[in-house]
Assembly symmetry: C2
Homo-oligomer: 220 residues x 2
């Protein structure tokens, strides 16, 4: 350490980057962006085994991207602060800005068609106020119950058909999901547009909406 404080410093910075360098951990962070969670819930949502998820969580904690507290028998994890979210955002921005690969993957989700520009959160808020838009929350029911945009309808990709029949054909639809890392809304919009519906995606997901200080309601 005293031999090379410079390397030691860089090593610390690299530790944070390394924590973000595994898809499994990004997936965990995306979940935590929705709200704090226990280990089992995280393992369940991300499809990781319990022990594996626990190990990833500890790497994230070592990098101080998440913190934990005990609550009875359970250990609850949450993002340390907004900086963690900022870092994830910037990572995504750089990746999308630079990597043609990302473009191709997102295009593949839309069935080859060009996706329309996303709706800004300010726009959606304004349109919500005048009731001229239908908001779809494309997330599992439990996440929807834990918090969603006021007035939003909940639908998973599998449910989508069921919810559609309740909507007028000329409805303007805005879909959102967990956030920029999540592809549910992309897929939902692609499916809706294939049916000729006027659907667009919200820029960002619930965490970003909440971060803007906009209203969020729990189970209706």
């Amino acid at each position: 350490m005293s031999i090379s404080p410079k390397i030691a410093l860089l090593e610390e910075y690299a530790l944070v980057a390394r924590a973000l360098s595994a898809p499994a951990r990004l997936s965990i962070l995306e979940q935590l962006a929705q709200g704090e969670r226990g280990v089992e819930a995280l393992a369940d949502k991300t499809g990781l085994t319990l022990a594996n998820c626990s190990q990833h969580l500890q790497q994230l904690r070592r990098a101080a991207l998440v913190t934990s507290r005990r609550e009875g028998k359970a250990v609850i994890y949450r993002l340390t602060d907004a900086k963690t979210l900022d870092l994830m955002d910037l990572l995504r921005i750089v990746a999308e800005r630079n990597l043609a690969q990302v473009e191709r993957i997102l295009r593949g989700l839309s069935g080859g068609e060009e996706a329309p520009d996303p709706v800004s959160r300010a726009d959606l808020a304004a349109r919500l106020a005048e009731g001229s838009v239908t908001v779809l929350d494309i997330r599992p029911a439990d996440e929807f119950a834990a918090g969603h945009i006021p007035g939003a309808l909940n639908a998973t990709l599998a449910d989508l058909e069921q919810v559609l029949i309740m909507l007028p054909n000329d409805a303007e639809i805005v879909a959102y999901c967990r956030g920029p890392y999540c592809v549910y809304a992309h897929q939902a919009v692609a499916a809706l547009r294939k049916r000729g519906l006027n659907a667009r995606r919200l820029d960002g997901g619930l965490p970003e909406w909440r971060k803007d200080g906009r209203p969020v309601v729990t189970a209706p």
Copy 2:
């Protein structure tokens, strides 16, 4: 829908993070933040072998953090855009904000003494205008020649003693180096303060100064 577009997306984001997860690559990026460089210059500055440095550069290029162009026989690398710098900055901020380890390392550099708050770039610009401050550039002579803050004196850590004797004892000194990743200025300030001089560190280094749009001069 292929096997898992979601994982594929996360994999792309992880690729960018992975590129930042090795001290050697951070070191390269710090060099490139000073300005574009050839492979050999980078290898020399970072202490890496040529082939090794080239491989790291290709990983950075795969993550689109740097781009390259040919210039005669040489291949010149540079940061793709300001986002790369932003990402490095945020990485450092999160690491310093959260990791007690970083604090200890930086404190170790100051010989255990508390370092004073850094001088903001706006403050330095104002004081430079009124000539009430001496600026020290603590970087190798070639980097100094390639660009430095107007009026700055160049000194390496080894040279420091030589330069000192030219300064009045009551001089107010501001030291800077390559930037937040660089520890030269920390060490120089610690050394100067041990001699009873009124030295402080500039917040950020030359890349940040330049990014602010402030004047930079080349070899005097």
